[in-house]
């Protein structure tokens, strides 16, 4: 399955060819370089892009900014870089959660940037607790690892706390339904805002960097406004993770932050395009945790919204997760349900009491009930539905 957005399917196939000829390719390509792996259920592509931008402000950097985050995609990004860079340039790589343990064999001294873990594509990926357990077992056998990790996510802490050198960051976690139980002992966790603890003694580590209302507070207490072009609280969290990772890699916040601020889209996410003759802002909404951050990002009611649901392999083949999203929040606006699984969404919206239309292809003929306004129309898609909208709009414009 090719997940590349920028360079077409041939890009990842190239990586597969290299891997077939040389199974050791990733080890060879990473030899002697400083490597950062960014992984999370949500925000890993954005965090990778922000971190690469931050590092890029200080010197050349190699990255897989195509979103191709499985081994073949990484090999392709490294073996066929967009431009030639020095042999000692740092590498910033986005890693799929399930592939991360295997990828680390090629970079046992990597810096890990670990954001969050929640339910996603449950037909393909493991249950959340199992991913965290596998990470922990891998990390504990690799004493050379260092990490920048989200102290507010108990699964992340469970996995990362076996690493001796961790910089804990508090960026919040809007979705807590997958970390009800203590990863250590199985008891129910106590929660108070971002803080959490268990009767067994496992608790949130004290963070040294904190996201606070659009600003980052460093270990010395100094406050710096993020001033991002990217919308939403989740992207502030991504930016703080990237900022602290850049700091760990030797690029200070005063250089990193201005380099991240002007980024306006990531692989087409948040990009305004023209579709069906309308100005449309493209958004990726692929799981309940992502949607928990989405409602605050949408143009406010009564602005209509298009939601495109597919359930192919890269989306997860079971769209039952639509029932974990409080779509009741969309009451008072019209929703256009589209995509291959639009009927699943329509049933969800019907039971939520949300006015909606079910349309196979709104971009061929936008329903007249959706009236043009000055603002772009928000269109949220699952991974492949988003990709399809982006393809029809002519692809991502954000440069690597």
């Amino acid at each position: 399955m090719s997940r590349t957005l920028r360079r077409g399917d041939g890009f990842v196939i190239g990586g597969r060819v290299v891997l077939a000829a040389c199974p050791d390719a990733l080890v060879q390509l990473l030899l002697g370089r400083r490597v950062a792996f960014v992984s999370a259920t949500n925000g890993k592509t954005t965090t990778t892009k922000l971190l690469a931008a931050a590092m890029g402000a200080a010197g050349p950097v190699l990255t897989n900014n195509s979103g191709a985050n499985m081994p073949a995609g990484l090999v392709a990004a490294l073996a066929m870089p967009a431009q030639r860079v020095a042999d000692d340039a740092p590498v910033v790589l986005e890693a799929d959660e399930t592939y991360l343990p295997g990828l680390l064999r090629a970079a046992p001294d990597a810096l890990l940037v670990l954001g969050n873990l929640s339910r996603d594509q449950l037909d393909r990926l493991s249950e959340v607790a199992m991913v965290a357990r596998r990470w922990r077992a891998t990390f504990s056998a690799m004493p050379g690892l260092t990490a920048v990790a989200n102290a507010d996510d108990p699964h992340i802490v469970w996995a990362a706390s076996v690493i001796s050198d961790v910089t804990w960051v508090s960026v919040g976690n809007a979705w807590t339904a997958d970390s009800v139980l203590c990863p250590s002992c199985g008891a129910i966790l106590r929660r108070d805002g971002r803080d959490w603890s268990c009767e067994c003694g496992f608790r949130r580590p004290s963070p040294s960097w904190i996201l606070d209302d659009g600003a980052v507070v460093d270990p010395g207490g100094a406050r710096r406004e993020l001033a991002l072009r990217l919308p939403g609280r989740a992207n502030e969290a991504n930016a703080v993770m990237a900022l602290v990772a850049a700091h760990a890699l030797g690029v200070p916040a005063e250089i990193a932050s201005p380099a991240m601020a002007p980024i306006g889209s990531v692989g087409g996410r948040y990009q305004t395009v023209t579709l069906g003759g309308r100005r449309v802002r493209l958004l990726l909404g692929k799981n309940p945790a992502g949607w928990a951050e989405m409602f605050g990002m949408l143009a406010p009611a009564p602005a209509p919204v298009v939601i495109a649901i597919n359930a192919r392999a890269a989306d997860g083949k079971d769209p039952s997760w639509l029932w974990d999203v409080p779509f009741e929040n969309l009451a008072g606006r019209l929703v256009v349900a589209t995509g291959e699984r639009r009927h699943d969404l329509a049933v969800r919206l019907a039971y939520a009491g949300v006015e909606h239309l079910t349309v196979e292809d709104p971009w061929a003929a936008m329903p007249t009930a959706i009236k043009p306004s000055g603002q772009p129309l928000d269109a949220v898609g699952t991974y492949t539905a988003f990709r399809e909208m982006l393809r029809r709009a002519g692809g991502a414009r954000d440069a690597g």
Binding site: R119, L122, D123, E127, V128, A129, M130, A177, D178, V180, L181, G186, A187, I188, K317, D318, S320, W321, L322, W323, D324, H343, D344, A346, V347, R348, L349, A350, Y351, A352, G353, T358
Partner: protein, 244 residues
């Protein structure tokens, strides 16, 4: 259900047993009752909270292994659900919530965990995880009112064997279901267990209304929801039944 009293629906520990979207079953039942003008009191129990034994219908969903074990232990200690069943309350359990109603099921690391013994079924491990669309024909001798094909999505590693006290809910046409004897789900009195996610009651309105009719004590007037008909038509067309 006495007179005009509200229907009391209890979703048991959705934070533990709600990983696969089964929280939707409570929303579906609540809306289908309200659209018929019935009063409904839906309740979602926090993990470990005592289970009130005076409700009409209890719902349990799918969850991760550790969460399933935690829920089963809390329910065994609490006994509220068992008392409610003795009183004649209805129960609808899905996946992990189906398995824990039985005698035993594989918990964390495959160690067998005792269930609530409300349903005469025993669950072991399937050789290969069952993941995909599930299509099944209701077994008419189990629930005569259920006539329409059951459609849903399954994602489990449990193989469930029915004892003499339980009847099969349906016969598998596509997918795995119980993984034993081409059967899917179990029925025992007013307890229904199934592997159907989707959620199961969103994709199978006849089953939702059957549960509600048990609570109300009479059948319910038809409810026209074209979106549900369209979803069923699309899903039934998408799944090829295995050859008989």
């Amino acid at each position: 259900m006495p007179g005009d009293a509200a229907i009391r629906l209890v979703s048991i520990y959705p934070m533990l047993l709600g990983t696969y979207g089964d929280g939707g079953n409570l929303r579906v039942l609540t809306m289908r009752a309200r659209l018929r003008g019935l009063q409904v009191e839906p309740v979602e129990l926090d993990a470990g909270e005592p289970v009130p034994d005076g409700a009409d219908l209890y719902l349990l969903g799918g969850g991760e292994d550790d969460a399933q074990v935690a829920a089963a232990r809390a329910l065994r200690r609490d006994r509220g659900l068992a008392r409610a069943v003795e009183r004649g309350a209805a129960v609808f359990g899905v996946c992990a919530g189906y398995q824990l109603l039985g005698k035993e099921f594989p918990g964390s690391n495959g160690v067998l965990e005792p269930g609530l013994e409300l349903l005469d079924v025993t669950t072991g491990r399937l050789p290969k995880r069952a993941v995909g669309e599930l299509l099944a024909e209701p077994v008419s001798s189990s629930l005569v009112e259920l006539t329409q094909p059951l459609t849903g999505y399954e994602n489990h590693a449990g193989g469930t064997t029915l004892g003499a006290g339980a009847r099969p809910l349906a016969r598998v046409r596509a997918g795995v279901g119980n993984g034993v004897g081409q059967l899917e789900g179990a029925v025992q009195g007013r307890i229904v267990g199934t592997y159907l996610h989707g959620p199961g009651l969103a994709r199978n309105p006849q089953l939702a209304d059957l549960l509600l009719s048990w609570v109300v004590g009479s059948s319910l007037p038809p409810l026209d929801l074209p979106a549900v008909d369209a979803l069923r038509a699309e899903r039934l067309a998408a799944v090829k039944p295995a050859k008989e």
